[in-house]
């Protein structure tokens, strides 16, 4: 069993390194995208082998549902920019050196390999050396597992990861949610952006599949959220699943749909952080410290925060995918 496990890990490791290498070295952008999707799959298996099923679940939702679609749609946009550049406009002004054209040129006319090999190798060696020296001096420690286990009865949930994320170290999760919100505000501050155009579905199969998949995705998202209290799962994973379902709808919608109204959209996107902050301030006022809960209230408060966070994460992911500010707000 152990020898076979080691063999499995070695094959998996070789696959991950090989796929990452070919993905970075590929000059064909589509091939690089497919290799990256495969990389995400192998990475999820690696998280499983590292006994981190929570992260494997998140990697499954993000890797299969979101990054692949995001990269493919980016490729679509890049190609239409290229087509514009190539077809006509011979006297157009010189392209912006920081714009997408420069990125395309850099991608399509890479430096010859002999000029990049030595710098790349020395950079990798320096970073690798730093990592090794940093990890070499890790003191022998059993980690925080015994401490967490000893306090599970006051956490309000039965899954240690959720207990850490939403009770013992809730401010980490609070700041992570704030970062997700700030990322969206950053994307919106770049200005308005044309939505990817609606395309009529090629044949009846895609609409049929959507009718099956989207309800199942909603149920699965709620299930993963609920499972977080006693098993791997929780707000980030559930939000990623619901967000992927929304992205699927954006990608496959056969005709233009009205944009979400700006007010409720902003409310939903900020609900997670806002509610988390309110609960935290309440804990401060009630004498449990910032983001502390009374023991009897821990479970309902955690569920409340997780529901709001799931909604916000799902909406934020779809909004980041669509990019650009909501229509009808020109402040």
């Amino acid at each position: 069993m152990n020898a076979l496990l080691v063999l499995f890990d070695l094959v998996l490791l070789a696959g991950i390194v090989g796929v990452a290498w070919r993905c970075l070295a590929s000059t064909d952008l589509f091939r690089a995208v497919v290799l990256f999707i495969t990389f995400g799959l192998l990475l999820a298996l690696a998280w499983v082998r590292l006994e981190a099923p929570d992260i494997a679940l998140a990697e499954a939702a993000i890797g299969a549902g979101i990054t692949g679609a995001l990269l493919l749609v980016t490729l679509e946009r890049l190609r239409s920019i290229m087509a514009e550049r190539r077809s006509g406009r011979p006297h157009s002004p010189p392209p912006d050196p920081t714009g997408p054209h420069a990125l395309l040129r850099a991608l399509h006319d890479p430096l010859p390999e002999h000029r990049t090999f030595l710098p790349a190798l020395s950079f990798a060696l320096v970073v690798g050396g730093l990592l090794v020296t940093a990890l070499w001096h890790q003191p022998q420690s059993v980690g925080l597992e015994p401490v967490v286990d000893a306090h599970m009865d006051v956490s309000g949930v039965d899954h240690p990861i959720t207990a850490v994320l939403l009770n013992f170290r809730a401010y980490d999760t609070f700041l992570e949610l704030a970062i997700v919100l700030i990322a969206l505000l950053g994307a919106w501050s770049l200005g308005r952006h044309d939505l990817i155009p609606a395309r009529p579905a090629p044949g009846p199969i895609l609409p049929g599949t959507l009718r099956l998949l989207v309800p199942v995705a909603v149920v699965t998202g709620v299930y993963v959220l609920w499972a977080g209290s006693h098993a791997p799962g929780g707000a980030f994973q559930a939000g990623a699943i619901l967000g992927a379902a929304g992205i699927l709808l954006v990608l496959a919608r056969p005709r233009q749909l009205p944009m979400a109204p700006a007010g409720p959209l902003r409310l939903g996107i900020s609900a997670g952080v806002a509610l988390f902050l309110l609960v935290g301030l309440y804990g401060l006022a009630a004498g449990h410290g910032f983001l502390g809960y009374a023991e009897a209230w821990a479970y309902p408060l955690i569920i409340l925060i997780e529901v709001a966070a799931t909604l916000s994460i799902a909406l934020t992911l779809v909004a980041l995918f669509v990019a650009g500010r909501p229509a009808g707000d020109d402040t």
């Binding site: 499995f8 589509f30 495969t38 499954a60 299969a64 749609v73 290229m82 087509a83 990817i196 990608l251």
Partner: protein
Amino acid sequence: MSLFYLAAALFLLGTILLGLVRVLRGPGSGDRMLAAQLFGTTGVTILLLLSLALEASALVDVALVFALLAVVAAVAFVRQHGLPEPPDTPIHRQPPDTPGPERHHDDR
């Protein structure tokens, strides 16, 4: 039994690595997308086998999420129309064995 599940998972991991040859070689983007789709199914199967081999029932949920979202990349793929095709483009260009000006030659 768990030894058998692990051996089966290892075998499937091997088929993924073999199938990568199709991703690297192409030649069309459809071939690469198909390979990715097959990897997704194989990955779901590996996760199910590992859930029994490692006695971690949560892996079934990971497999469920992969199965649920397996179609997203393919939908994004069929959307992207790439360059507008010139009107005289035949449906099939020349086969991959005759090197044409449009083909890539970065299969090092």
